[in-house]
């Protein structure tokens, strides 16, 4: 394969800006798939992705294109995940490319996420081709968006392609620009093997399938290779290229994109970002830069609704983890919820996706506890413990300080909503850094904000205060001490551990009051009184009471009433069985979700 005729590229776009539609058109024009095979948005092949309009797991596809210069080129489109939680995965996909298509919806303009992914692409020295999409729409503001793009990355309007992926307008120009403006891969097929894993998935029959870019050397079937970071060696069973299916080849040489199967049964041995090298020369080879193991940032308890589903839930999680190295779980027990798991996620979207997949694809009903972040607790004796569950917090008088993760955050917002957004960040303990104006009407605000402040309902609030126009992106910055306390919820004096939260002292009262109030509305009246309290240590800061039944008896129960009455009792019985028993009272499952919806 002549390296000079290869182009490796990806598409950077905000959700709904038209990435998938553009990808479809490229595949169509290069006859990578016949019209009969054409299925809209082929790159998003999970139901969930399609519904959410985002691509969660990266794939790649090879296209053949005869350019106007008469030469035939191989174009590898490497898909990138589209959300802040997957920044690291995005960066590995970018590392496998020499160029990127920056797709901006001309009816929407540049978004915060586009900015951060663009900056990421620029850091990787990618050639960037700006594409203004949806130019056929009446609401398209081509000139305004051109100015935004120039403000961001320089250049002139002439550098930008005007496209309507949906109508097929300008798509051929995109292919020509890929050939003309994106450089061919560097790297030599005869040097020592270095292969970047930019994605992987687990196949039930073949084990882990790695999606790879050969940076140097040639990857051959039968070769003995080492996964550098994991330190494990395997024999290559199969290599090949990616059309819409896998297509086996003898080898993959420098610059090529394809897949690698080596009988790896554990996805952790073939982590995204790792370098595959030849086993016998492993000592002499310097691995590719940029690998870091993924560490979960957000945690929550997951419990089966029906305790008999515990094993089913564990199996489902194991299966999910095969495909998702960033998802972690370990068993935990809750007084209120029984046996379950403490799970770790990259972020909130990742958490939602995992929960939805468990419920939908694996058919288990689950209860989720309030998500929390990882804290570092510095004890008086100088030791530091990491806490992923509020219930595990050491006793208050052992604690010297609690450190929490702080994010560096960017919000892109129309000028008229700056005030609202600033107020929201203030409420959420945000620290203002500065504002960049991309143009007179759009500003990029820079903040530092504790991760804990965005794990509940922040996105919804941001969207609502900006009428949907603000977009948000972040990366982890540091661990910093804060005045944090543990807030417990007590039911008739017993702590309901699943509702414990670590929270800033200034917000504890409001949180406690609001949560007690919500619980009062959600807990039905029953045989015994339910006293709900919020407490910091032994100090009660809020209290509500659900009164006991005064009377609960149907008067008439004669011959004709008995069957009806039995059915009624049986219905009440089933309702009560779905509740969690806490002492002599029952708590409905919705109560555990109450805290997810609290605004502070």
């Amino acid at each position: 394969m002549d390296v000079s005729h290869i182009r490796n590229f990806c598409i950077i776009a905000h959700i709904d800006h038209g990435k998938s539609t553009l990808a479809d058109r490229l595949l169509e024009l290069t006859a990578t798939l016949s019209p009969q095979q054409m299925q809209d948005q082929v790159l998003d092949n999970m139901d969930l992705e399609r519904e959410r309009g985002i691509t969660i797991k990266a794939h790649a596809v090879r296209m053949h294109y005869r350019a106007r210069d008469g030469q035939e080129y191989v174009l590898n489109l490497i898909d990138t995940p589209g959300h802040v939680d997957f920044t690291y995965e995005v960066s590995r996909s970018l590392a496998a490319c020499e160029g990127a298509l920056l797709v901006v919806d001309t009816t929407q303009g540049v978004e915060a996420q586009t900015v951060s992914n663009l900056l990421l692409a620029m850091e990787h020295d990618l050639a960037i081709i700006p594409i203004l999409n949806k130019i056929d729409m009446p609401a398209a503001q081509v000139e305004a968006v051109q100015r935004q793009v120039i403000d961001l990355m320089g250049g002139t309007p002439d550098d930008m392609l005007l496209v309507s992926a949906k109508q097929g307008i300008g798509v051929e120009e995109v292919l020509e620009a890929i050939v003309a403006r994106i450089p061919p891969p560097a790297g030599a097929s005869d040097s020592s093997l270095r292969v970047l894993i930019f994605d992987s998935l687990y196949d039930h029959y073949r084990g882990v399938i790695c999606f790879v870019r050969v940076v140097d050397g040639t990857l051959r079937k039968g070769m003995k290779v080492r996964f550098y970071a994991a330190g494990r060696e395997y024999e290559v069973e199969e290599v090949g290229i990616l059309r819409l299916q896998r297509l086996e080849t003898e080898s993959l040489s420098a610059g090529e994109v394809g897949y690698l199967i080596a009988g790896v049964r554990v996805i952790a041995d073939a982590r995204v970002g790792d370098t595959v090298v030849e086993a016998q020369r492993a000592q002499q080879v310097i691995p590719l830069p940029g690998y870091r193991p993924l560490k979960p940032m957000v945690f929550s308890g997951l419990y089966p609704v029906d305790s008999e589903d515990y094993d089913g839930l564990r199996h489902a999680m194991e299966r999910l983890r095969l495909n998702d190295a960033a998802f972690s779980f370990e068993p935990e027990t809750s007084v209120a919820l029984g046996f379950g798991f403490r799970c770790g996620y990259l972020g909130l979207l990742h958490m939602e996706i995992v929960q939805e997949r468990l419920e939908r694809e694996h058919d288990v009903e689950i209860i989720t506890t309030v998500p929390n972040v990882r804290y570092e607790v510095v004890k008086h004796d100088g030791t530091v413990v990491e806490i992923e569950n509020p219930a595990a917090l050491p006793p208050a008088n052992d604690i010297e300080a609690i450190r929490e993760p702080i994010l560096s955050a960017q919000v892109l917002v129309p000028a008229e909503y700056i005030g609202n957004v600033m107020q929201l960040f203030n409420e959420r303990r945000g620290v203002y850094l500065n504002t960049e104006y991309l143009n007179a009407s759009r500003a990029l605000l820079h903040y530092e904000i504790p991760l804990a402040e965005i794990v509940t309902d922040f996105y919804d609030r941001l969207k609502s205060v900006s009428r949907g126009y603000a977009s948000f992106d972040y990366e982890p910055k540091a661990m910093r001490p804060a005045d944090l306390v543990k807030l417990d919820i007590l039911i008739n004096g017993d702590p309901m551990d699943a509702l414990s939260a670590i929270i800033h002292r200034d917000k504890a009262h409001e949180w406690g009051r609001e949560l007690c109030h919500r619980l009062k509305d959600l807990i039905p009246r029953q045989m015994f009184e339910v006293i709900i309290q919020a407490a910091i240590g032994s100090r009660v800061i809020a209290r509500e009471v659900v009164r006991a039944f005064r009377k609960n008896v149907v008067a008439k129960c004669y011959g004709g009433d008995i069957t009806r009455k039995r059915k009624l009792l049986s219905k009440q019985k089933e309702g009560k069985k779905r509740m969690k028993q806490l002492g002599k009272v029952e708590i409905p499952q919705e109560a555990f979700l109450a805290a997810l919806k609290i605004e502070t």
Binding site: R550, V554, G559, R566, L569
Partner: protein, 384 residues
Amino acid sequence: MISPAQSFGLYVHIPFCPQRCPYCAFTILTGHTALYDRYVEAVCTEIRSWQSLAHKGPLQTVFFGGGTPSLLAPAQVQRILDTAAVTFGIAPDAEITLEANPTTADAEKFAALRASGCNRLSLGVQSFNDTDLKTLGRWHSAADATAAYATARQAEFTNVNMDVIFSIPGAPRQHWQATVHTLLGLGPEHISTYSLTIEEGTRFARRYHQGRLAPVSEDDDAWAYAWVMETLAAAGYEHYEVSNFARPGYRSHHNWGYWHGADYLGVGLSAHSLLDGQRHWNLRAIRAYITAVETGRAPCAGSELLDPLTARHEHLWLQLRTCEGATLQPLELQTLLSAPKFQAMLEAGLVHLEAPRLRLTPSGFLLADAIGVEVLILLEGGSQ
């Protein structure tokens, strides 16, 4: 008291009423006077069709319920009783109850009913307050009810029940107290007290959904029930079931059978039967019922056979609603005793355990449904 195992009862449903009360959700018919004879004939035919049950006879109890059975002519009641006597036999000391409305009381009629064999009269008094009677949409006055009671006594009914309703929307507590005091002044052998419930499909329900009818608060409802339990007990009435009070020796044998698993045959529109553990119920539409019977088909609309565990549990909560409570089997007792929730119920004084018998206390009667559900959940948990 006859042991329920030997008891065999007959329930006869008479669906006719002078008019529909706005709180009533029963299967009843107004007008249709032209159908009375045909209906009575159909009921007799249905009774005869159960000839196969003759071995269960003689009947220990017969109950004419409704509707307003006293709308029938005494001869029609007589005809039904004669048919039952021929088919199953009626024990000489059988309890034969007929529900009557105060407006249908005249001396001659009551005397004739007494002569036909009826020996227990149940009067639907509902209230002794005329304002409350108006709220309830009743077409009789308090004075009518007092007069009907006197008429029943004159007709030599020595076992009279009076039905009264509490928690009538808008009625102050004093109305209920006055009604009960009037009742005690009359001194019937048996009193049934019912908390007014707003049933879907009634005019009360419609007014309630439109915001034109405010139900009594749960606190007031609980007070009325607790107060009447206390007052009737002090007056010498035995509280023998959630809604039923009787002077010693005057419990309703027929109803007692319902709560203790006795066999009973229900005939007429929508009537339910329990025969050898199998329950069935009749059609609810008058034409369909009559046509079925007249063409020799069973007027049955549905049936159920409970599995032994469900049957046992049904038995337990029905018995729990009575003064004698439920007799627990050793495993059931063990399961309950080991449950913290049950201990909490004992501590709170809601139930009283004299092993192996479990009974509701007066405060337990206030929560009989919640306690029933709880006990069944604990037992189901223990039987898994």
